[in-house]
């Protein structure tokens, strides 16, 4: 059963580019080398006069694999840089684990 890690990030519109650059150049290498898959990274429009929401979805097979990924992240100095720079750019956000549902055919 696939598990999805869903990070929803709120940033000011003028920081969207910087946050996406951080995800692409640091987050993706760290997370994928640790064993996670990047399922998608999407954002709301910058043209609406409100903060932008970025949603980053990672996936893995189960919580056992997540525990290995977590270990690899903790041992990778770049992961701490990803955390520090991300915290300085965002204004808020949430982290949730999601699981497949029958409504989508168990995907």
């Amino acid at each position: 059963m696939t598990v999805y890690l869903v990070d929803t990030i709120e940033v000011a519109a003028d920081r969207l580019e910087a946050y996406l650059e951080l995800v692409e150049t640091v987050g993706v290498p760290v997370m994928t080398e640790a064993g996670a898959r990047l399922d998608r990274c999407t954002a709301t429009s910058v043209a609406l006069g409100e903060p932008v929401e970025i949603q980053i979805v990672w996936s893995f097979d189960d919580h056992g694999q997540w525990n290995e990924i977590r270990k690899n992240m903790v041992l990778d100095p770049r992961w701490y840089e990803y955390g520090r720079r991300g915290a300085s750019l965002r204004t808020g956000g949430t982290r949730r684990f999601h699981y497949p549902t029958p409504a989508a055919g168990g995907r």
Binding site: G27, K71, M73
Partner: protein, 233 residues
């Protein structure tokens, strides 16, 4: 049995709603993960730059490994802890005391309520096992000479590096080599011990300098009123 402590500095202090939710998650963890035993939280009252302490235990390394892969651990506890989580509430500090703990034969550390005090010790790496063992015996004998201290347990800080599976040391080093866990009925009892004229309390007041030939090269302590809500679900 594995005895384990997590200690954190937090951004918003103990009144921040998210920090309080983390403390509540620690406190009720045993209701969701039955492997988590003897769980209690506390707010540090010592000058050490740490605010939140979670003390708990596991019956075995196998039980610890089940905790590590439990969804409550990943989804709720780590939500507030991991460096890259957008909901992180803990902050970096250089005390090296984030995770400490030791192996023991049974729950000799149990204190139903009262004040817990942890003294993290950096023992001279050149000291022999026998020297360290004798010093631990002296520290564990304190309650016999000083009734103010109800409980005293010393263990090598194996959990500082064996954080992944409870057994295997991970890369890196642990700043604190030993954990000295104490229990008191009340803050008054703790204060009474700290000002007592016993050899060990005197040594503590002098940061263990020259105690047993300079065996202890560094120390830091935290203490807190134990808040227990570890009941079965």
């Amino acid at each position: 049995m594995l005895r384990r402590f997590e200690m954190y500095s937090v951004a918003g202090g103990d009144r921040d709603p998210k920090v309080r939710r983390l403390a509540e998650a620690f406190s009720t963890c045993g209701q969701f993960i039955p492997e988590v035993l003897h769980s209690a939280v506390g707010w540090n009252l010592s000058p050490a730059p740490l605010q939140l302490v979670w003390e708990h235990a596991y019956a075995s390394p196998e039980a610890y490994r089940r905790y590590m892969v439990h969804p409550f651990h990943a989804a709720v506890l780590d939500r507030y802890l991991l460096a890259d989580s957008p909901e992180r509430v803990v902050t970096d500090n250089d005390l090296g005391a984030g995770l400490v703990g030791y192996s023991c034969d049974g729950p000799t550390f149990v204190l139903a309520c009262g004040v817990r005090r942890l003294v993290l010790l950096q023992v001279d790496r050149a000291a022999s096992e026998a020297e360290v063992g004798r010093a631990a015996e002296v520290l564990e004998s304190v309650p016999r000479a000083t009734p103010a201290m109800a409980l005293s347990v010393v263990g090598a800080n194996t959990m500082g590096r064996a954080w992944f599976d409870g057994v295997t040391p991970m890369p890196g080093s642990a700043r604190w080599s030993h954990v000295w866990e104490q229990g008191f009925e009340s803050l008054d009892a703790l204060r009474s011990y700290l000002v007592s004229d016993t050899d060990v309390a005197s040594a503590e007041r002098e940061n263990f300098s020259n105690w047993r030939g300079g065996l202890v090269t560094g120390s830091v302590s935290v203490h807190y009123q134990m808040l227990v809500s570890d009941r079965p679900r």
